[in-house]
């Protein structure tokens, strides 16, 4: 008889554990093969057949337990490779009292099973138990599952899914007790594995093209290479204030000065900002820098990399994505190359039917943009720099059209302090951003390698900073000095890995793809709720 009160259940399990002669936690168990291997090896058995001479050891978590009379118990054992049935009958069990042994094994427990491979009468590949050992009890009741778990586990990247329909759906619980999310919701395992596949593909792609993976510092005396507020900390031994990096760009470029021709880093960046559906204070990017390349080369590389990655991971070029929420049908996002290219200034002018001032750095341009934003109802929070106003207009008029991957290119110089001025269009730079599903996924440019100009641009950023924009870029003298020794012509590229994984896994919230997203601190842990899971 199953106890239904969660606290009573917990206490009862603790008590029964204490009464066991040996603690299950002191056990060690060796598996003889993985579940996949087991299926492969014994799939040819016929219904009712049992290999009495062969003993195999398997282990996993009990996801269901069903007794049939007093001498037969069925368990479904789950591992990272799906489910296998364990059938225990009184005759086959070696040593120990049948009833007593099975009384101690409950749904949720991690067990080791030794037995004979066989096919049940109904044709289900099983293991017929000779010995079953409790390895780690589950002290809580797991939420009751819905349909057959193996059916639920057919989701793969690129296909649509709906986390709101999961057996365990409270986000707080799912993200804070991520292990429970993985145990109870069969698709989550595959969602988390997608990040691994994506990063592996990117590493392989870059390694094959001669790029070298490097590690730059996360703790710096200043945080440069992008526009954002940093996390600050303090190194006690040397009494130094330090910042966590917001981007690895400046150090990666120093490695190009050092003589590397191609470098990349896939690792964490930190921005001390608010959290929303596409922003977590700690996130993963890939940045690479290629000497003697320009942004045209990188646009081609981006198309190759992304289309190849999507094909490898999903089997095709399109992914299903619930852009309009899980209650509306998903859209199909198509990664077939080549991707559309939109020149920013021309694009804005065409879409809005206006003509932008030629000198975007001028006061007149700033006034014009302020008026335009007001007239069109596009809100920009202060400070109302030209750069921020343009950014808002682009977001409103151009980014909204980019569902399939599209490049927005040739950004104005005032928006791009580290990018090289365009070789033929004054006031613009050789820069592109790739937008997918209306969100920025990639940012890249031919790098500015003139130190005199770089210093001037930093000074301009400083003016913006003093004007109230505390996201404006910080001057980094070490970096400028490195440029004075000669940075080869090069182009650099950065991609948000978490956002890529969101697209591949139909995740509307970045928290879905992060193992442990930033959360508000939990209140003191209250007792488990009715469903048997500890409350968030």
């Amino acid at each position: 008889m199953e106890e239904l009160d969660p606290t009573q259940y917990y206490n009862n399990r603790l008590a029964s554990l204490a009464s066991l002669p040996t603690s299950p936690y002191s056990q060690m168990f060796r598996v003889s093969m993985t579940f996949d291997h087991y299926r492969e090896k014994f799939k040819g058995l016929s219904n009712g057949e049992r290999l009495a001479e062969t003993t195999v050891s398997l282990a996993g978590r009990v996801m269901s337990k069903r007794a049939s009379g007093s001498k037969l118990v069925f368990y479904s054992l789950e591992s990272a490779e799906g489910t296998i049935q364990a059938v225990s009958d009184a005759r086959s069990l070696v040593g120990g009292n049948f009833a007593a042994v099975h009384a101690n094994i409950k749904r949720g427990d991690v067990v080791g099973v030794s037995g004979n491979p066989g096919m049940s009468n109904r044709g289900e590949l099983s293991i017929f138990v000779k010995e079953i050992i409790l390895l780690a009890p589950c002290l809580y009741m797991l939420p009751k599952g819905g349909k057959n778990r193996d059916e639920q586990a057919t989701w793969r990247p690129g296909k649509p899914r709906n986390p709101n329909a999961y057996v365990l759906k409270e986000q707080e619980t799912r993200y804070r007790l991520r292990f429970l999310d993985i145990i109870v919701n069969p698709e989550v395992k595959f969602v988390l594995e997608t990040a691994h596949s994506a990063v592996n593909y990117i590493r392989s792609f870059l390694d094959q093209r001669g790029f070298r993976e490097v590690e730059t510092a996360i703790l710096n005396s200043k945080a440069g290479g992008a526009a954002a507020r940093p996390f600050n900390t303090h190194h006690d031994a040397s009494e130094m204030d330090m910042s966590l990096r917001i981007a690895p760009e400046l150090q990666l470029k120093q490695l190009l000065v050092a003589g590397y021709n191609g470098v990349y880093e896939v690792d964490k960046q930190f921005r001390n900002e608010g959290m929303d559906l596409t922003h977590n204070p700690e996130f993963t990017t890939c940045e690479f820098y290629s000497a003697y390349s320009d942004y045209h080369d990188l646009m081609t590389m981006t198309e190759e990399l992304l289309s190849g990655l999507v094909k490898k991971i999903t089997g095709g070029y399109t992914v299903s994505y619930h852009s309009n929420g899980y209650d509306s049908p998903p859209v199909e996002i198509d990664f077939t190359p080549p991707f559309r290219r939109i020149e920013m200034v021309n694009g804005l002018e065409d879409t809005m039917g206006i003509e932008l001032p030629k000198d975007l750095a001028s006061e007149e341009a700033n006034e014009f943009l302020k008026k335009t934003c007001e007239a069109r109802g596009v809100y920009c929070a202060p400070p109302l720099t030209t750069s921020r106003l343009l950014d808002k207009l682009v977001g409103h008029y151009l980014e909204e059209t980019c569902v399939n991957p599209a490049f927005i290119i040739d950004h104005p110089l005032i928006m791009s302090p580290l990018a090289k001025q365009h070789r033929s269009k004054p006031g613009l730079t050789e820069r592109f951003e790739l937008f997918v599903n209306k969100h920025e996924l990639v940012n890249a440019y031919t790098e500015l390698n003139n130190p005199v100009e770089q210093r001037d641009r930093f000074v301009q950023q400083l003016k913006d900073r003093q004007g109230g924009d505390d996201e404006a870029m910080v001057l980094d003298e070490d970096f400028v000095k490195a440029m004075e020794y000669g940075l080869p012509p090069c182009a650099g590229w950065g991609m948000g890995i978490d956002r890529l994984v969101m697209l591949l896994t139909d995740s509307l919230n970045i928290k879905e793809v992060l193992l442990c997203p930033a959360m508000k601190p939990p209140e003191a842990v209250p007792p488990p709720n009715e469903k048997g899971t500890p409350q968030a």
């Binding site: 936690y25 056990q27 168990f29 060796r30 598996v31 282990a59 591992s79 990272a80 427990d109 991690v110 390895l135 780690a136 589950c138 809580y140 804070r176 007790l177 991520r178 292990f179 429970l180 993985i182 145990i183 592996n200 490097v214 590690e215 730059t216 510092a217 996360i218 703790l219 005396s221 996390f231 900390t233 031994a237 040397s238 966590l244 490695l255 050092a258 003589g259 021709n261 690792d267 930190f270 001390n272 204070p281 700690e282 000497a291 003697y292 320009d294 090289k420 003139n450 490195a482 004075e484 020794y485 000669g486 012509p489 193992l515 442990c516 997203p517 508000k520 939990p522 842990v525 500890p534």
Partner: protein, 485 residues
Amino acid sequence: MRGLGIEPYAYSWNRTHKATQLQEKYADLPAGGVADSDEDRVSVAGRIFARRAFGKLAFLGIRDDSASIQLYCDKAKLESFTQLKSTVDIGDIVGATGTLKRTEKGELSVYVDNLVILTKSILPLPEKWHGLTDIEKRYRQRYLDMIMNPEVAGVFRARAKVVSVIRRFVEDLGFLEIETPILQGAAGGADARPFITHHNSLERDLFLRIATELHLKRMLVGGFERVYELGRIFRNEGISTRHNPEFTSIEIYQAYADYNDMMALAEELVTKCAEAIFGNAKLLYQGTDISLERPWKRASMQSLVQEATGIDFSAFGSDLSAAKSAALSALSPRKDESLQTVIANCATVGNVLNEVFEAVVEKTLIQPTFVTNHPVEVSPLAKAHRSFPGLVERFELYICGRELANAFSELTDPIEQVHRGESAVKQHKNDSYEVTLDEDFLTALEYGMPPTAGMGIGIDRLVMLLTDSPSIRDVIAFPVLKSQQ
């Protein structure tokens, strides 16, 4: 240069070959020979490190990230010769196209018909870089260090290789890479002082992780049976030849395995890395020959301490004062007051054993040695030894007197974990930083973690060993500098 109509900062360069490729392809070209057919037109790029100019001839040595090659500039063939002779300097980055020839002296050269300055360097390269006494300067301008000393670039090439070999090794064994958070509400999984930061919009303090253990073990509870993370760890401690406040580790967790399995894994992994760099299992570190021939020595902490001091720690039981006085008298010849104080303040016999081990034995372990079966008091996350009460199933791998890896059969019992955690907190009461019990980790154990073994390896220390580098800061591209200026 702009006055002459030359753009000193080019946009790109269409390079066809790296120096190594040309050196290999034309290895058979004899001295005095030429390769000047259409198929032999190549395009190279790199930084000038040598320049010799005569009336109508100039020789430029350039280096790219693979090797170096000479540019043979002949006024007869190169139109812009005169102009370039006056504008091109050592330190500049140039691109050159031409065919191939090998000089009488045997130097493979590109016979240049077009030479372009891709980046004009404003600052001249320093003349003296070797023997630079200001180490901080080498680290602050690491790019100069790498330009002037190709061996330094070689160290980082080796590092990239090691990381790649390790990843491939664990992935081939079916381990899944996981990314756990760096910013956490509490810093657990090791015994170290954390960095603290503040998140503005959540209005809370956060800690930088000191280990990846507790989050990776949660994944075992979730059902992944083989996981790893190769990533950055942060400890708010001093800077030394063995310590940088941020460093890289790999942590590996395998279900249904124990610490013996991890010993075998460690041997294989380190040997594979050595073979990738040297081609064999022997290396030289700071003048000492190290043999990685397996199996490596395995010895318990107690037996090593007994060998070195004569003290049998297994005989003390819980007699703390006897253990302390034995230790103090064995260590008195050192006349080390701070060590004496530490011993006197030890809370348990296990702690005394550990201190004596660190003081007397650690530095003597030169050849690879697994030190095993630590006392439980210094191993809060390790499983109790199946045969020896008071000890745990743990090892630390020492090579050249330094800890390279730490591993154990994992403690899976949540009730025992709480007891161990409480003692750890008690022991740290006098420290200025908090040691906290991670409640969510305990909850995970309550859901049930399979029997598991885990191991952490210090990647930087491994790279130090394999590149004969005396300091950890030699293998970190941008180490923490001791001062801001």
